[in-house]
């Protein structure tokens, strides 16, 4: 025990303590993220309880097939991310790179499907916007016939459906932004892994990025039922 392993930073006693400190620090950051998304979820809950018909109508306008597919894609990406961390723990460099690439690919698939959904809502004039500058860009909230029928079926007021779409775009948009940041982090990890910066003793960046990615997955696990499955589809 004359020489400390290269991976150990001087302020820690041993690798275990270093590892626990890293995970704990990441969890403290994730708790702030829980509070950030928690504010959105609390606002959503209040307005959903006040204007339920509007939220049901908005939810029924969404494409449930695309939403469910995206949930499956994101769960698969969480699995490949867990496998990337596992490969890092075993010190398998090529497997780490493979699983990171796979996770990024699934992340891009999710964002691609999200883009298709956003475009559908743009075409159906469901982007909540009031100003003249917006309507010049074709961004006014004026639902097309099919969406209007759903709104009338639920006896919902247009303004309440618009509020639902405010929550829909802000919450899914914030979630998508977190995913884009996650993919950026993975690009950096991929380059570091390629240069052989990780080994079975030192893989903290991959572990911590994994925690972040799984957290983003959890946010979607709640967004899917709360946005797509209000009021049942029977």
């Amino acid at each position: 025990m004359s020489e400390a392993p290269l991976a150990l930073a001087h302020q820690f006693d041993d690798l275990d303590q270093q590892h626990e400190a890293g995970s704990l620090g990441m969890w403290v950051f994730l708790v702030t993220e829980i509070m950030f998304f928690g504010g959105l979820f609390a606002g959503y809950t209040i307005y959903r309880s006040l204007y339920l018909e509007g939220f049901v109508a908005g939810s029924h306008i969404l494409n449930i097939k695309l939403g469910a597919t995206n949930t499956a894609v994101l769960i698969a990406s969480s699995f490949t991310m867990a496998m990337a961390v596992h490969s890092a723990q075993k010190g398998r460099r090529r497997a780490v790179m493979g699983f990171l690439l796979l996770t990024m690919l699934l992340g891009f698939t999710f964002l691609g499907i999200k883009c298709v959904e956003y475009h559908d809502k743009y075409v159906e004039h469901l982007i909540p916007c009031e100003s003249v500058a917006c309507s010049n860009l074709g961004l006014q909230f004026a639902p097309v016939e099919q969406a209007l029928q759903e709104i009338q079926k639920q006896h919902a007021q247009l303004a309440h459906v618009e509020l639902y779409f405010c929550f829909y775009f802000f919450m899914t948009g914030m979630h998508a932004l977190h995913m884009i940041i996650g993919i950026g982090i993975m690009t950096y990890l991929l380059l570091m892994a390629r240069r052989g910066k990780f080994n079975a003793q030192y893989y903290a960046p991959i572990e911590v990025a994994g925690l972040y990615w799984h957290f983003v997955d959890i946010v979607w696990i709640f967004l899917f039922p709360l946005l797509y499955l209000i009021g049942g589809r029977y």
């Binding site: 041993d14 690798l15 275990d16 590892h19 626990e20 995970s23 704990l24 969890w27 403290v28 994730l30 708790v31 829980i34 509070m35 928690g38 504010g39 979820f41 609390a42 809950t45 209040i46 309880s49 006040l50 449930i64 469910a68 949930t71 499956a72 769960i75 698969a76 969480s78 699995f79 991310m81 867990a82 496998m83 596992h86 723990q89 075993k90 007021q157 303004a159 309440h160 994994g210 925690l211 799984h214 957290f215 997955d217 959890i218 696990i221 709640f222 899917f224 039922p225 709360l226 797509y228 499955l229 209000i230 009021g231 049942g232 589809r233 029977y234």
Partner: protein, 111 residues
């Protein structure tokens, strides 16, 4: 002494369970359960989140300090939502003072 390494078999089982639960929650949305549709959807979501936190995020194998931080985070979230809702849901229980009738947060008004 080294970190606990979870076997790929467990990861795959959790992945399969999460996938099955996604199919379940989507399927249940097409069955009329009245108010229990929301309960079922949230119960499935919480189950999935717990699986991800315990296994994918290794909290099951983490020291107590990490577990306390995680639990505290979700406890604070529960406070945030419970207290906010208990305010909004009980406002109509007491009469509004006169002059306060037109409220921006009145549940009845449209736009």
């Amino acid at each position: 002494m080294s970190q606990h390494i979870v076997s790929p078999k467990i990861y795959f089982l959790i992945f399969a369970a999460l996938f099955a639960l996604t199919a379940l929650t989507t399927g249940v949305a097409f069955i009329d359960l009245g108010p229990y549709n929301t309960v079922a959807a949230l119960a499935v979501a919480v189950t999935k989140a717990i699986l991800v936190i315990l296994f994918f995020m290794h909290v099951r194998y983490s020291p107590h300090l990490t577990r306390i931080v995680v639990a505290a985070g979700f406890f604070w979230l529960a406070i945030l939502i419970t207290l906010t809702l208990s305010d909004f849901r009980t406002r109509s229980w007491t009469p509004r003072p006169s002059g306060w009738e037109i409220s921006a947060f009145s549940p009845q008004d449209g736009r």
